[in-house]
């Protein structure tokens, strides 16, 4: 089966690598491809939207006419993993801790309100151990991470992290077949990619 990583901008390489190792550990033969054009979206049984600059990815997706197709694909039930910038793109409401709301192009699929740079700037990026429902404890890397200010069903929080400044914050959200994280699992673990692949292989 074919799984894709949106490869317009960001740490695409690490996701491809994670999928490859996840497939190997799960003993599934998966073909991992980069998605740079709209037509590479079809026939995907799983998708990942990488970390990076959400504004850049948004603008590029928009100008390359991928944005809408992406929305359709995600809504059509393709299991999707979105990390950091990915999560921002999926959210319905996005604002920035410093410059307030940002009129940036969005996919607006995830029922969540996202606040960018909530932890402060790059300087405040950190590592932490996070308990994720259904996965266990993972070493999480928060890089200019956003937080999910609030979620509404069917989206629900599956992980929390407490941070001295931001207090207790939601670190990951799940909405049916969509997994959105504020941190970067692809730098430390393959757990999330395994989850997505199992979803794609059709078992809960």
């Amino acid at each position: 089966m074919k799984v894709g990583v949106l490869a317009l901008q960001g740490d695409v390489e690490e996701h491809l690598e994670a999928f490859r190792r996840a497939a190997a550990e799960l003993n599934i033969s998966a073909e991992v491809v980069r998605v740079k054009r709209a037509d590479q979206l079809d026939g995907l049984s799983a998708l990942a939207i990488p970390g990076g600059e959400s504004t850049t990815i948004g603008k590029l997706a928009q100008r390359l006419g991928i944005l809408d197709r992406l929305r359709t694909v995600v809504e059509s039930g393709v299991p999707t993993l979105a990390t950091c910038a990915g999560a921002v793109l999926l959210a319905k409401e996005v604002s920035d801790a410093i410059v307030g709301p940002t009129g940036q192009p969005l996919l607006a699929v995830l029922n969540a309100a996202v606040v960018r740079n909530a932890y402060g700037r790059q300087r405040d990026s950190f590592e932490a151990n996070v308990d994720v429902e259904g996965v266990g404890t993972v070493r999480a890397v928060f890089i200019r991470a956003p937080i999910f200010a609030k979620t509404w069903p069917p989206a629900r929080a599956i992980a929390h992290v407490d941070h001295p400044r931001a207090g207790r914050a939601i670190a990951a959200v799940r909405q049916d077949h969509v997994l959105a994280t504020a941190f970067h699992p692809e730098l430390t673990t393959t757990a999330f990619h395994k989850a997505v692949l199992e979803m794609a292989a059709g078992r809960l």
Binding site: L60, R121, V141
Partner: protein
């Protein structure tokens, strides 16, 4: 990654975090800006970051005198008007300008040969900082030396402010030829190499194993057209810095968008064509033919 750890500090600024961040800039363009308007133009154009300067390299070349870090106010103003990472240059060896930038929360610091150095012996020891650093290099040894001082990102020096990309091409090829040679060297040869470059063995071994620099490497110096940008990506750059090429041209807005597009879609000629068409040759910055520069006007020889 198991680097030795200097001070006891809590979990921020770990190596993974500092080296991870540039990974997020992949396929991106960082543009030199001198004020907010230019920064917003850069953001709308889809830049993944802006580099705040007092004067563009081309003007630095003209003005002479002592060139320092930009105003903090200007930098903060920029930081509060754009959402993309904001970075700034510091004079080589000037720890304190670096502290200040880290203090006001700059996302990336460039210890750059474009400014007037304050120390002609040592570069800043970047392990002391939680903010990632980027340094310029002309060939592999320089790059490895910077990494062993704690640089989390590397760029080619090229010859800033000339609008001629040929030096950048030369530096990138030199970089990758050396890396390929390492790929095949066995233990002993690595030892030699480590000695010549005066860097630890593990770093060389790691570079050899990965077949690339262990950190993100951008192209910089003389990029003026989308084609130049795509070329550098094609040569193996992870992204590009554009200096005077954009805001010294007559069509900065489109040129910015075009270069962003060309960088992101470098391996898709069709899109690069799109990008190339958004700019016109007449509007480009007039370049400087390298043969006309006197040796002491070369910026690339600064730093060690």
């Amino acid at each position: 990654f198991t680097w030795p750890r200097p001070y006891p500090a809590e979990e921020a600024g770990t190596v993974k975090v500092k080296v991870g961040f540039p990974a997020m800039l992949r396929n991106g363009v960082i543009m030199d800006v001198t004020n907010v308007e230019q920064a917003q133009i850069a953001e709308e154009a889809g830049a993944v970051g802006v580099m705040v300067l007092d004067k563009l390299p081309y003007d630095v070349r003209k003005a002479g005198g002592v060139a320092r870090m930009a105003d903090l106010k200007v930098i903060e103003e920029v930081m509060s008007h754009v959402t993309i990472p904001v970075s700034a240059k510091v004079r080589i060896g000037h720890y304190y300008e670096a502290f200040l930038l880290q203090e006001i929360g700059v996302d990336l610091i460039d210890e750059s040969e474009v400014l007037t150095p304050v120390d002609d012996q040592h570069h800043i020891n970047k392990w002391f900082f939680t903010v990632p650093f980027v340094n310029g290099c002309r060939e592999l040894c320089e790059a490895l030396r910077r990494i062993s001082e704690g640089a989390s990102m590397i760029r080619s020096k090229g010859e800033a402010g000339t609008g001629n990309v040929s030096e950048a091409v030369k530096h990138f090829k030199a970089l990758y030829r050396a890396i390929n040679e390492l790929g095949a060297a066995e233990e002993e040869r690595l030892r030699d190499y480590a000695r010549q470059c005066q860097v630890p063995l593990e770093l060389v071994a790691l570079t050899a194993k990965m077949g690339r620099l262990p950190v993100i490497t951008f192209a910089a110096g003389g990029i003026a057209t989308p084609a130049d940008a795509a070329l550098m990506m094609w040569l193996g750059a992870d992204g590009v810095f554009v200096g005077s090429g954009i805001f010294k041209s007559q069509d900065p807005r489109q040129r910015a968008e075009a270069i962003v597009l060309a960088t992101a879609k470098w391996d898709d000629p069709e899109a690069v064509v799109e990008a190339q068409k958004m700019v016109s040759e007449r509007a480009a910055m007039v370049g400087i033919d390298l043969k006309t520069l006197k040796p002491e006007e070369l910026l690339q020889t600064r730093g060690l």
